[in-house]
């Protein structure tokens, strides 16, 4: 079954060998690490970067892929779109090698077996090798497909993820005008993961993204799947939690009329109405806020730096980690000194009595 000497097409995120493996790309590699750390990550496997490269070679598209990237660098948007359209069509039409197809179908069947559910709904997401490189998160550029069911659909969306590597947005994504990030021959892993039928979901930061205050966990969440929060399409409720004491210091509960959820009418994820009694109700109970903040703190400690985390709470109330990423804004910023001046404690107090605040921002709570 296993191929100890050759690189595998499929790597399960709970496989000890998955931890630290470049074969899973950034997103799925982190989830393997989270799984090994004992965090509640929905089960799944990655179709590795090896599988992706094998597919391109087998289809005779590998050289063309390098050319496409190089051409896109100097081109205007219309040209990029034309190049992109042509090459993604080629990927969609190319044959899938039989051994790779078998590996994917066997793994999906195994996931169905593990969860005891045939035609198990899964999320299919790209997980790029280039993710989480300094200054090149490729945030939001890669594809995610939700509620994918059955072997045929899985195969179709895996191929869509591969094609997505050559979408116009990806080809032109260069936040630091650094061409090496854009033209490098990065591979991609496609993650297949059990869907969490989320009662509520969203993102959280292990610091306050507005002030950089490291003593807070800031949670944004909404009813239904978290796609609305990530895409910005749904205004989330917001909770500021003290990381030391877990007190909820601030809560802004948003009014929400529509949520992302599986819509049987279209047999896909779409915007559906929120139940009337939930429109103005908080999407998280206090114990769930506490559990999320505690989870965020453990993940930050485990990863050794501030994190940006996607989460979901199931209808039964279990909390799941869907994605973890290093926080990139404050972590790269030079720390600013808080006290106006270095002086003794008595010096600070005497100055305070004279009307001079201890901190440069005046010590006023924001």
């Amino acid at each position: 079954m296993t191929e100890p000497t050759t690189s595998p097409f499929v790597l399960w995120i709970d496989d000890p060998a998955a931890v630290g493996s470049r074969l899973l790309g950034g997103k799925f590699g982190s989830l393997a690490e989270m799984t090994a750390g004992g965090f509640a990550v929905p089960g799944g496997f990655g179709i590795t970067t090896t599988a992706y490269r094998y597919f391109l070679e087998y289809a005779g598209l590998a050289d063309r892929a390098r050319e496409v990237r190089a051409q896109a660098v100097g081109a205007d948007l219309a040209q990029v779109q034309a190049i992109s359209a042509e090459f993604t069509a080629a990927i969609q039409a190319a044959p899938l090698p039989a051994d790779l197809e078998t590996a994917i179908l066997t793994a999906y069947a195994e996931l169905e077996r593990r969860t005891g559910r045939s035609r198990l709904p899964v999320a299919v997401r790209s997980s790029g090798e280039s993710e989480d490189l300094a200054g090149a998160s490729f945030a939001g550029q890669y594809d995610t497909f939700l509620w994918v069911r059955g072997a045929d659909e899985v195969l179709r969306y895996v191929r869509s993820c591969w094609a997505g590597m050559f979408g116009a947005a990806v080809l032109t994504y260069r936040p630091d005008s650094d061409l090496t990030a854009a033209t490098a021959d990065h591979g991609i892993c496609v993650g297949i993961q059990q869907m969490v039928e989320a009662r509520a979901a969203g993102v959280m930061f292990t610091l306050d993204p507005v002030t950089g205050d490291r003593s807070k966990v800031v949670i944004e969440g909404c009813w239904g799947l978290g796609e609305g929060v990530v895409s910005g399409g749904v205004t989330p409720s917001r909770y500021v939690v003290d990381k030391v004491t877990f007190e909820v210091l601030k809560r802004d509960v948003a009014h929400q009329e529509a949520m992302y959820s599986f819509d049987p009418a279209i047999a896909a994820v779409g915007l559906v109405p929120v139940a009337t009694d939930r429109c103005d109700a908080p999407c998280l109970a206090d114990d769930q806020i506490h559990a999320l903040a505690e989870l965020a703190k453990r993940i930050e400690r485990h990863r050794g730096a501030p994190q940006d985390i996607e989460w979901a709470v199931s209808e039964a109330g279990d909390v799941h980690v869907l994605q973890v990423r290093p926080e990139t804004v404050w972590s790269h910023r030079q720390a600013e000194q808080l006290v106006t001046e270095r002086k003794s404690a008595v010096g600070h107090v005497l100055a305070r009595f004279a009307g001079v605040g201890v901190a440069s921002n005046g010590g006023r709570p924001s």
């Binding site: 210091l249 003794s344 107090v349």
Partner: protein, 629 residues
């Protein structure tokens, strides 16, 4: 219903005085009407504590807020000794002893019997700078030598209390004792009565001065640490900041700890049936006394009682704040609870190690979230200084308000008995209707009667006067005061105002906007974390504490730490007044009771029996359901 608009002797007119304008200003203090039946209330108080036509411009231009924290009720004339004490003793610290650069003293006025106060500010930058120099030298000396000065403070306070204990009052004898003659004393019982009273009053002012010797500096060090935390960790709660600093072995916990020890001894000596079977403390003590091992318990009880039961059921500032030692029902309620807990196999000890470990953890963790080494250095220094000053900040309360003042009130009652014995008054409690300076006169009157054999004037003078004052005070009490008067300030800088009374820019704005429940919601300061729902139980008088039922939410002007025995039956507490450092916020937190303080209007807008929700995390109190019919 109608009130006097005519200006009588010394009483300024209310004609033309500004009315309250929501969102802009409070009513002028001169616009406050005397309730019908309370005319002449001014005669109960000293002239300098009253509004006057001559100082009208000054008094009209200031911001006055009601000091319900210390004086929830109309002042008894005698009890003004406490407010008059700190009018000088607290104010002189900020003006004459170490001039706090931007803050002056705190002014007082009595309006309709209620105490209103107004902090003075120093605004001239040149004067602020001058004061800063003196302040740095003088306050710096105290901070640098804090522990030594605090040790001296405890010695001074203890000595003051010992001298107070030694003061006694007794009716004048029919005949001067023979010893006075044989020892050639030359001064007699009349002189002794007069000078003992003088010593009593001086003793109060002495302790009253010690009260503020280190207090403002202690608050200042804490306030600086608090501001640092608020700047570093925006939104951090006040109780979290306090938890990094507050001590675990403070004296305010000692009375309760003594009761826990007595409960343990009662179990060891197998006296539990006698403790649990007698709700009346006197009956319980009698039954224990009759038990073969009872003497050992009673000895331990007497040992604990003095000084630890000199524990006031109020703020200690008014004579109606009785101490545990005056009324043993509260400590015995606690005793029964602990005995029952021990019989049920509970561990009734306070988890000191856990509390301390949590304090260490919380402090160390916040430290790791600071941005730079310079900030961590400042944090370390400020938390250390705040912890150094805190034993005084927390413990002065036991020495001053509980032990000294409770003892003081009992001595005043002893003197009341002298007036009863000489026919001036019907009841010892009536002497609180006399101002302390009137008592000097009454004592002289009494001496004249004793010396001459003529009936003293006071025998016929004071009874009707006390009756008149009682009627007036009862009317005033039925007319609760508004929280603030006058022109709202632009800034509040005076540290005591913020820390002790919880009065901030925000609370002033709140008072300006509303005059009661806003919808079904009251806002205050989140003083102790947690959330609870229960029936409101309004407590205006500590006597009502015995009505508390399990699960009730206490609704009061202000809580006192000595109410702790009923805390175990409560699910939360709400008060009208009090800031984060108010005497009881610390103890509330220790008992894990959700609390919202400084709501302004809880006692006037929540009725006993209403279902309310208290959110000690956000400082919000909601009325969920009216009293069920």
């Amino acid at each position: 219903m109608t009130s006097s608009h005519t200006s009588t002797n010394g009483v300024p007119s209310s004609e033309g005085a500004a009315q309250a304008v929501p969102g802009q200003r409070f009513a002028s203090p001169f616009a406050v009407q005397t309730p019908a039946g309370a005319e002449g209330w001014q005669s109960m108080y000293p002239y300098y504590a009253l509004l006057s036509e001559e100082r009208r411009e000054l008094e009209d231009g200031k911001f006055w807020f009601f000091d319900g924290m210390h004086n929830p009720e109309p002042l008894y004339p005698f009890d003004t000794i406490m407010t008059e004490n700190w009018w000088v003793a607290a104010s002189q610290m900020s003006t004459r002893v170490w001039p706090v650069p931007p803050a002056g003293g705190i002014d007082h006025r009595i309006i309709n019997g209620y105490l209103y106060i107004s902090p003075n500010a120093v605004t001239d930058p040149a004067e602020v700078a001058r004061r800063a120099e003196d302040f740095a030298v003088r306050a710096g000396h105290y901070y640098e030598n804090w522990d030594e000065i605090y040790e001296q403070w405890v010695a001074k306070a203890t000595d003051c209390i010992e001298r107070l204990t030694a003061i006694t009052f007794a009716p004048l004898p029919e005949m001067e004792p023979l010893d006075s003659v044989l020892e050639h004393r030359g001064v007699y019982s009349s002189y002794q009565l007069l000078t003992s009273y003088g010593a009593l009053i001086e003793n109060l002012f002495e302790m009253g001065s010690y009260h503020f010797e280190m207090l403002n500096l202690g608050y200042g060090a804490y306030l600086t640490f608090r501001e640092f935390c608020q700047a570093a960790f925006p939104g951090i709660s006040d109780q979290t900041i306090a938890s990094m600093v507050s001590g675990i072995d403070i004296l305010l916990f000692r009375p309760d700890d003594e009761v826990r020890s007595l409960a343990k001894l009662a179990v060891e000596l197998e006296l539990t049936d006698l403790v649990l079977g007698n709700e009346d403390p006197a009956a319980a003590l009698k039954a224990i006394g009759a038990h073969p091992d009872g003497a050992r318990w009673l000895a331990a009880f007497e040992e604990a009682k003095d000084p630890w039961f000199w524990f006031s059921t109020g703020a200690g500032y008014t004579h109606s704040d009785r101490a545990w030692i005056d009324d043993l029902r509260l400590p015995f309620t606690a005793l029964r609870g602990y005995v029952q807990g021990l019989l049920d196999g509970e561990d009734i000890r306070r988890p000191l190690d856990e509390i301390l470990a949590e304090r260490v953890r919380v402090t160390a963790e916040y430290r790791t979230y600071l941005p730079t080494e310079a900030d961590r250095e400042s944090f370390d220094g400020l938390v250390e200084l705040a912890r150094q000053v805190f034993p005084f900040v927390e413990n002065h309360n036991f020495y001053v308000e509980h032990w000294h003042h409770s003892l003081f009130w009992s001595k005043v009652r002893e003197l009341g008995d002298v007036f009863v014995a000489h026919g001036f008054l019907d009841d010892r409690e009536d002497m609180f209707y006399l101002h302390r300076n009137e008592i000097y006169s009454a004592l002289y009157d009494l001496n004249i009667g004793w010396a001459t054999g003529t009936e003293a004037r006071g025998v016929t003078y004071w009874r009707p006067e006390v009756e008149r004052r009682r009627r007036i005070r009862d009317v005033l009490k039925a007319n609760p005061p508004v929280p603030a008067l006058g022109a709202p300030p632009e800034f509040i800088t005076e540290p005591l105002t913020v820390m002790l009374w919880g009065i901030t820019q925000e609370s002033v704005q709140e008072w300006l906007g509303v005059d009661g429940l806003d919808g079904n919601e009251l806002r205050g300061v989140a003083a102790s974390a947690g959330k609870a729902t229960g029936r409101g139980r309004g407590i205006i008088d500590p006597e009502q504490l015995h009505e508390v039922e399990d699960g009730d939410i206490l609704v009061c002007r202000i809580t006192a730490p000595s109410w702790a025995p009923v805390f175990s039956r409560l699910s939360a507490a709400v008060s009208d007044v009090g800031g984060i450092m108010a005497h009881t916020a610390i103890v509330c937190r220790e008992y894990g009771l959700p609390a919202v303080v400084g709501t302004g209007f809880a006692t006037t807008s929540i009725r006993t029996g209403q279902l309310i929700e208290v959110d000690g995390n956000t400082g919000v109190v909601r009325v969920l359901e009216d009293v069920s019919a």
